[in-house]
């Protein structure tokens, strides 16, 4: 290598090192816009509602007093029966529900349950007896003992499922969502327990399921194929968007809207009409365009979450 090419090489490497330092992703021109569309209550399916959506005065998480839509839901989708969740025998070849693991979704079949020890490389996993019957929580007492964060030791190595019939057919929920979203002046709001939004069938879109805690007790808190499951507090709730809940498609090929976040910004499906994911999402998984204003795109079903944070001031989910 002659001297000039050595210098060129050095320059290239130096520029490369500089370039490597400058790739920090920051929020780009995707902040909420002034011409932000209001929440459209007509998107909600009447069968999922306790009554008509009304308006009420509300105070948002940032202290802003404004007008909110009060959406009271019945806690059960009107267009389908929830479940199934757990298979009952390890020889059961049909697909019961779904499990989320390692960024992927898996069909919950008898075979999947039978192979959990291999799947997790942990011989403590054994959810079935000598006859091949899978341990499934089959009463309200059992489901609540197994579904709580500190799983009752008697229900370790269980496939956990609860029935809406234990809760009068559904746990009623009340959402207060600002009619006109209020952008935060700075920063973002973090996702906590209690939901990030509501789907158009009235079902709460919940934060990540604590799958690690669940698995420490060797239980499978089975989801149905729609990414939902039931507990005593939240009732039936979604942890993943799999296309089951009603959506409103866009004429321009943009992803369909599937619900609203608690801050009133629209929650849209992951992919557009051509199957492509959006680019340029901010840290909350949101961006802006001229038609929809600021809006979110939900994560994939295997990610066990919908959005990363709130760009606006949140209402409430109770």
């Amino acid at each position: 290598m002659n001297m000039q090419s050595k210098q060129r090489c050095l320059l290239f490497v130096t520029i490369g090192a500089l370039a490597a330092c400058g790739s920090d992703a920051t929020d780009g021109p995707d902040a909420p816009t002034d011409n932000q569309p209001a929440v459209d209550p007509a998107h909600f399916v009447a069968g999922g509602l306790k009554g008509a959506i009304t308006t009420t005065s509300c105070t948002l998480s940032g202290g802003t007093t404004t007008t909110c839509y009060k959406i009271v839901t019945v806690g059960a989708p009107s267009n389908r029966t929830v479940g199934p969740f757990c298979p009952t025998k390890i020889t059961d070849g049909s697909v019961a529900g779904m499990w989320i693991e390692g960024g992927k979704t898996y069909d919950l079949t008898g075979d999947f349950i039978a192979n959990l020890a291999t799947f997790y490389n942990d011989t403590k996993w054994k959810l079935y007896d000598a006859a091949g019957n899978i341990n499934v929580t089959n009463s309200q007492v059992a489901c609540e003992a197994a579904a709580r964060p500190d799983v009752d030791p008697a229900y370790q190595n269980y496939c956990v499922e609860c029935a809406l019939s234990y809760y009068g057919g559904g746990v009623e929920r009340t959402f207060l969502i600002p009619v006109n979203p209020v952008a935060r002046k700075s920063g973002t709001g973090s996702v906590g327990m209690g939901g990030v939004g509501v789907a158009f069938d009235g079902i709460v879109l919940d934060g990540p399921a604590p799958v690690t805690a669940i698995k420490a007790a060797h239980t499978i808190a089975a989801f149905d194929d729609c990414g939902g499951h039931i507990n005593a507090h939240a009732g039936y709730h979604y942890h993943a968007a799999t296309g089951c809940s009603p959506s409103v498609t866009a004429a321009d090929g943009h992803a369909a809207i599937i619900g609203y976040a608690l801050d009133g910004y629209g929650m849209y499906a992951l992919a557009d009409a051509s199957g492509a994911e959006p680019t340029g999402l901010d840290n909350c998984r949101g961006h802006s365009d001229g038609t929809r204003g600021y809006h979110y795109h939900v994560a994939s079903a295997g990610e066990n979450m919908f959005i990363g944070c709130f760009k606006g001031e949140q209402g409430t989910a109770n």
């Binding site: 210098q7 090192a17 490597a20 920090d24 693991e101 906590g192 934060g207 994911e277 999402l281 990363g308």
Partner: protein, 125 residues
Amino acid sequence: MSAARLALTVVVFVLVLGLPSPASAHDSGDGNAFMWRACDGRQLDDTCAFQNAVHDLYRGTCQSMSNALVCVRNQPIERAASQLPNRMASSNAQSPRWWQWLAMAGVLAISGAAMVVLHAGKRQR
């Protein structure tokens, strides 16, 4: 070893070993825990990256969920079959820490000094 070769060695060392690689699902077999582990030692809004069980690459930022930081993807999933050329770039998805900045500054200083030495050597010929 010549100054230029020394500088090159340091640069390669820093780029290859100095920056953390994405958390991997294969580290523990603990499922989605790697999405949370990708933010170990990081702060809110730091960039992060992780791989799922089949080596698809997920890049995003650390966000607080129920008072713990989790890596929230905000880039399209890079499928394993098509992501090989991006593996090195994925390292850049991590926010540089103070010691990485220090290392980079050292690299630049060494590179600059090497260029001066080389330039002087060329003029002597």
